[in-house]
Symmetry: C2
Subunit: 254 residues, 2 copies
């Protein structure tokens, strides 16, 4: 099995290192990841500037390719110009911090896997539910097992799995739950500050407001110590509204 | 009616100017838009650096607020800290270049409207199908009429309209078509060049491969001279796969 690995925390992060070491036990792994952290970049791609590719070493040996771009850039150039072939699987992560509910939209980790799905490559994004993770071993083990399962069973073209793993030892994990994207949302607050020159600037902060009540939703699953696995696609058409709007007689607006 | 306007081409673009002038005929308009062009930024939000807000003038008078951030940032800070209330409608555009099919994922124009939808504000993204548009008047007229229609009929929370207008005079428009997100995709090519110092760099290029065959899909609708209106939401759960995966017995992987 050939696997392409990327992330959004950057090629030097602890999460990608644990992931690569785990996946190497079952596959031929190519790493193409951002040179610098790219959290919350969403599904950005770089078009206004060219990309550069750097060879990156770790533990005194070649680890992978660093790109001065976004996670989606890494997947595109990784497949088109570095691997020069379509991998059997693309895995993004392991991210520091969960990617549930509306965060699926903002996440660079998820966007890397989504870019692979757009290219008809089966893919998975893996995140751990804490920004201060010391031990990625359980999440890396889950990633490896799910990689084998995806390879065995297959997933539909255009679909990816979004996996969130509680930051707990395996013994405390309640189970693995197939989930839906939760409805939880951010209550944004921009904290206003004044710089040394008297000018205002604003930091984005806020709280995730939980709007779900069942472990069938990603955010509630991880809160209840379940590994959450959400199948995600990129067909954004609202089909209910599509049918409803046919009665709007929009041609009258011309 | 209170309308928030943003875009991804930047506050100084011709498209946002035409849009604002048209919407001012029916509403109280607040403009909060990126200081610089932000095309293909996807749904990026700025968290690692603070944002600044600048007052921007046009034709010798106040036009709106320029933000050194992304389209999604503009909507968040525009609603939370500039308007300090939820508008009745948010409109993004008018973009130079279409946003159909998979480009809905990459588009900054669409992401601004999606951010409003996430905040339960009815919204619409408007694009014209050419990168060299001289006359935005027809698209601005359609935007105004659809704004009134949305205000009258309402749209569900979490849904936005993605509108693409052919770059044609009104007399050549075939009609207005309610559409689905097309399946068309990019066949990416990274063009390799060598800089004056002998190092490689890569420009993203490519062609959109049309995979649809009916004007019920956005990309084909605009090609056939229809205005395309696609209702889009941000629930990315693949429900078919969600049901199917329940039989995977993933708990065995623990």
């Amino acid at each position: 099995m050939k696997i392409l690995v990327s992330n959004d925390d950057g090629i030097d992060s602890a999460g990608i290192y644990a992931l690569v070491n785990s996946l190497k036990e079952i596959a031929d792994v190519t790493v193409v990841a951002p040179h610098k952290e790219q959290s919350a970049v969403g599904h950005a791609i770089t078009m206004q500037t060219p990309l550069r590719v750097f060879e990156y070493h770790r533990d005194g040996k070649f680890f992978g390719y660093a790109i001065d771009g976004t996670p989606a850039d890494c997947v595109k150039i990784g497949i088109r110009n570095i691997m020069n072939e379509f991998p059997d699987l693309m895995v993004s992560g392991i991210n520091h911090g969960s990617n549930t509910a509306v965060n699926i939209i903002y996440s660079g980790t998820v966007s890397a896997a989504r870019e692979a799905a757009i290219m008809d490559v089966p893919s998975m994004a893996v995140s751990v539910t804490s920004h201060s993770v010391n031990d990625f071993s359980f999440a890396a083990e889950i990633a490896k097992k799910l990689a084998l399962e995806i390879n065995k069973r297959g997933i539909p073209k255009g679909t990816m799995l979004n996996v969130n793993v509680p930051n707990l030892p395996k013994s405390e994990i309640a189970g693995i739950q197939i989930t839906m994207q939760g409805k939880s949302k951010w209550d944004d607050v921009y904290e206003k500050r004044v710089d040394p020159y008297g000018r205002n600037y604003y930091w984005l902060t806020g709280n995730l407001v939980e709007l779900d009540d069942s472990i069938e939703y990603d955010q509630i699953a991880i809160k209840n110590k379940y590994v959450s696995v959400t199948p995600v696609h990129f067909d954004l058409t609202d089909y209910d509204m599509y049918e409803k709007m046919k009665s709007w007689n929009v041609d009258k607006l011309l």
